[in-house]
Symmetry: C2
Subunit: 87 residues, 2 copies
C-alpha cells in the first residue's frame, strides 16, 4: 500500500513526530511523508505517533492508496530531498 | 479526478499561491490542498501557479488519483478548517 501523510504539529512535538515517521516513510517535503508500507506497519506507526501527538492541537492526515498504480505524482519546482529536513 | 497538492513555497509568494489554489481546491491543512477537479481545470491551475512560483526555490507536488474510491483518508487529531488558513 502507498501512503501520504501530511501533518501540522506543534513546534514542541514536530521534531519527535518527524523522527518517528522517518522509521517508516520518506520525508519528501515540509509537512509531507510518503512511501510504501504494510497495513501492520502503518497501524504501529500511527499508534506510536499518537503517543507523541497532542490530539487537541496537532493534525495528521493519512491518505492510503492500496494500489500504487492508482496514484500519479508530478513535481513542480524543486524536489526536496531528505537533507532539507535538517536545514 | 481527486488530487492532493502539497507545497513548500517561499514566504513572499505563499499567499498568492494559496489564493490561486483556493479557486480550484479546498485548503485542508498547512501546505495541503485537496479536492475533485477535472484534468482541464488542473492544467489551468498548474499553469497559473507556475506564473507565481519561483521554480528555483519553491516546491509543489501534485498527487492525482483518477478514481476517488482508490484513496482513503483518515484524520488523526484535529481536522483543520479553511478559516485556520488565516490565523
Amino acid at each position: 500500500m502507498f501512503v501520504i501523510i501530511t501533518y501540522d504539529i506543534g513546534h514542541k512535538r514536530v521534531g519527535k513526530v518527524c523522527k518517528k515517521m522517518r522509521e517508516y516513510l520518506d520525508w519528501t517535503q515540509n509537512s509531507v511523508f510518503e512511501g510504501e508500507i504494510t497495513v501492520g506497519a502503518l497501524t504501529k506507526c500511527i499508534r506510536e505517533l499518537h503517543e507523541i501527538m497532542n490530539n487537541e492541537e496537532d493534525s495528521l492526515y493519512v491518505y492510503q492508496i492500496n494500489n500504487p498504480k492508482h496514484i500519479k505524482k508530478t513535481i513542480h519546482g524543486q524536489e526536496k530531498c531528505p537533507i532539507d529536513l535538517f536545514l
